[in-house]
């Protein structure tokens, strides 16, 4: 059952061949038996999920139920869920139970989806390996000694291991696309403003964007359809109609112009990954896509610009954690300042503290112009690069990462080496453009992703290209062996 797509599962329960309760029980059973080896879930909401499945079956019995009725999903633990603990991977929020739902959660609820629980993530989404989580690292189902990527590593690993057919994620600098690539699943980060940020715990507000993971572009289209749309509760949500993504999936690719940025194939890209990406592009070429080389000349400045802008915004956003209104509070504070400092010092992990201090520094008097203002100007140059390229092409394609999944512990003590993981994903966040990772092959048994970047609000086009690619290939159907996971879990 776990090898079926959302579309297939949905058809089965609509024909009443199987109930939502049976589907949900099956996936919960897989979570119980396999997740101990992966640590993909922070919280499993078994009773809640079974009650929701029961309701879904009643709706279906009455001949009702929208697109995702009775379908199991999981939420990255950054999305607030009413009455269900939401930790953001941090000790700071280890006991936080939100009194409200994030809009994305509420919309998926309305679409009928049944949330099985909350998935593990890098603390406050700050990380590219899922090793900064207070709840421990997540492991990659393809090789338990390797990272699943981050920050949405729990969601990616859960979908890759067949613990859930789809899951939500967020992407500030690559946190959907990079783990999707490293675990061999399909992930989409929409245009900034497409999915509401309301109730999505803030990291860097001008970059954060919600999206999803699924086993195929076709399934991702259904989930994104349910999540996307204008929300008056998010002041940067865009009031623009959401097209019917499923309806555009089959569109022919003949004549589509696809740009390959030469900077994404330059030094640093591992030859094996490069070969996989080039083969994927050839597959698209066979479908009539016109491939042209393009240039995004400021690409190498994206990581430095991001590591000024994102920490600056984070230092401001995370100022709210004061040990007073909610979240962790230190024991026996001497005075108010001691309360703030120790609650934050003990509640945040090392990476979060690093970023708060970097952000405070680049925003401080005397350094603001040299770092923060300069980074915002460079951000403009990066965004202008894309604008020029999208005058010539419809879609940009390239690698998601320079290499497949690295080993646990390999980069965690070297923040700059960790940051460079996101060299190909960060530019789309700085510009606010939609991006995808599509399973494209393997190097030494580890999955490799093809990145697609679209023009503003071009999610439909990306899903279309990914779907046509998946009709011509079977990389997205490959699954990790379960022996190691079962052995480790028992």
């Amino acid at each position: 059952m776990h090898t079926k797509s959302l579309k297939e599962l949905s058809a089965l329960i609509r024909r009443r061949e199987v109930s939502s309760r049976e589907v949900v029980e099956h996936f919960l059973d897989r979570v119980r038996s396999l997740d101990p080896s992966l640590n993909g879930f922070v919280t499993v909401a078994e009773e809640r999920a079974l009650a929701r499945a029961q309701q879904a079956d009643e709706r279906l019995g009455a001949g009702q139920g929208p697109a995702l009725t009775g379908m199991p999903i999981a939420h990255k633990d950054i999305f607030c869920t009413r009455g269900l603990r939401t930790t953001c991977g941090s000790r700071m929020l280890a006991d936080f139970t939100p009194p409200f739902d994030a809009t994305a959660v509420q919309k998926l609820d309305t679409a009928g989806a049944v949330a099985l629980g909350k998935t593990n993530m890098d603390e406050f989404a700050m990380g590219s390996s899922n090793e900064t989580s207070y709840f421990g690292a997540v492991r990659n189902p393809w090789d338990l000694e390797r990272v699943p990527g981050g920050s949405s590593g729990g969601s990616a690993a859960a979908v890759a291991a067949g613990l859930v057919p789809a899951a939500t994620g967020t992407d500030t600098g690559g946190s959907i696309r990079q783990p999707a690539a490293l675990t061999g699943v399909t992930g989409i980060k929409p245009t900034y403003g497409r999915v509401s940020r309301y109730g999505m715990i803030a990291f860097a507000s001008s970059l954060d964007q919600g999206g999803c993971f699924a086993r195929s572009a076709e399934d991702a289209a259904v989930v994104l359809q349910a999540m996307a749309g204008f929300d008056p509760k998010d002041s940067t949500s865009v009031d623009q109609a959401v097209p019917d993504y499923a309806a555009g999936l089959e569109r022919e690719l003949k004549g589509l112009r696809m740009g390959l940025p030469r900077e994404y194939f330059a030094e640093g890209l591992e030859p094996g990954v490069k070969a996989v990406v080039q083969q994927a592009i050839e597959v698209l070429g066979e479908q009539g896509v016109e491939v042209v080389e393009v240039s995004l000349p400021h690409t190498e400045l994206a990581v430095p610009a991001y590591y000024v802008v994102a920490p600056a915004e984070a230092s401001s956003n995370l100022a709210r954690y004061d040990g007073v209104r909610y979240g962790y509070r230190c024991a026996d504070p001497l005075d108010l300042e001691d309360l703030y400092k120790r609650s934050r010092g003990e509640g945040f992990g090392r990476e979060v503290k690093r970023r708060i201090m970097v952000g405070t520094y680049v925003l401080s008097h005397g350094y603001y112009d040299a770092y923060y203002l300069q980074a915002q100007k460079v951000r403009r140059l990066i965004s202008d690069d894309f604008r020029r390229v999208f005058e010539q092409v419809d879609v940009i394609a390239g690698p998601v990462t320079q290499a497949p999944a690295f080993r646990l512990g390999e980069k965690i003590d070297d923040p700059v080496a960790m940051y460079l993981n996101d060299i190909y994903t960060i530019p789309a966040n700085l510009a606010g453009l939609p991006g995808m990772s599509v399973p494209a092959g393997f190097v030494d048994g580890l999955p490799v992703g093809l990145q697609l970047i679209g023009n503003y609000f071009g999610e439909g086009r990306l899903l279309n290209v990914a779907h046509r690619f998946q009709q011509a290939t079977d990389w997205h159907r490959r699954r990790p062996a379960e022996d190691a996971m079962r052995a480790e879990a028992s």
Binding site: G193, G323, V358, K377, L381, P415, Y419
Partner: protein
């Protein structure tokens, strides 16, 4: 920019973060590396590029000045580390 332990202490204070003394050296090393990488931006000729604060260059949307949220004080304060009689409790501020 090379960060010293004293610079870390200053940033930690401004950020209201308690950092253990034995961690100062490592943070100084990490922050130096990060800011050295970010320092590359200063060599860039940005010409007349205007700062980009938001990807879509939107102006902030305004809404009518009407109450949209109900009173949920009890629900919110149930999440507080220390609350009593509708008040958040903190250490005494005025002696």
């Amino acid at each position: 920019m090379s960060f010293q332990s004293s610079d870390v202490s200053k940033m930690a204070h401004l950020s209201r973060l308690a950092i253990e003394d034995q961690d100062l050296t490592r943070f100084a090393h990490d922050l130096s590396d990060i800011l050295e990488m970010a320092g590359r931006l200063q060599e860039v000729d940005v010409g007349d590029a205007g700062p980009m604060a938001h990807p879509l260059d939107l102006t902030q949307r305004l809404r009518a000045d009407v109450v949209t949220e109900g009173d949920e004080r009890e629900a919110f304060q149930s999440q507080a580390p220390a609350a009593e009689d509708g008040l958040y409790l903190v250490p005494r501020v005025i002696e």
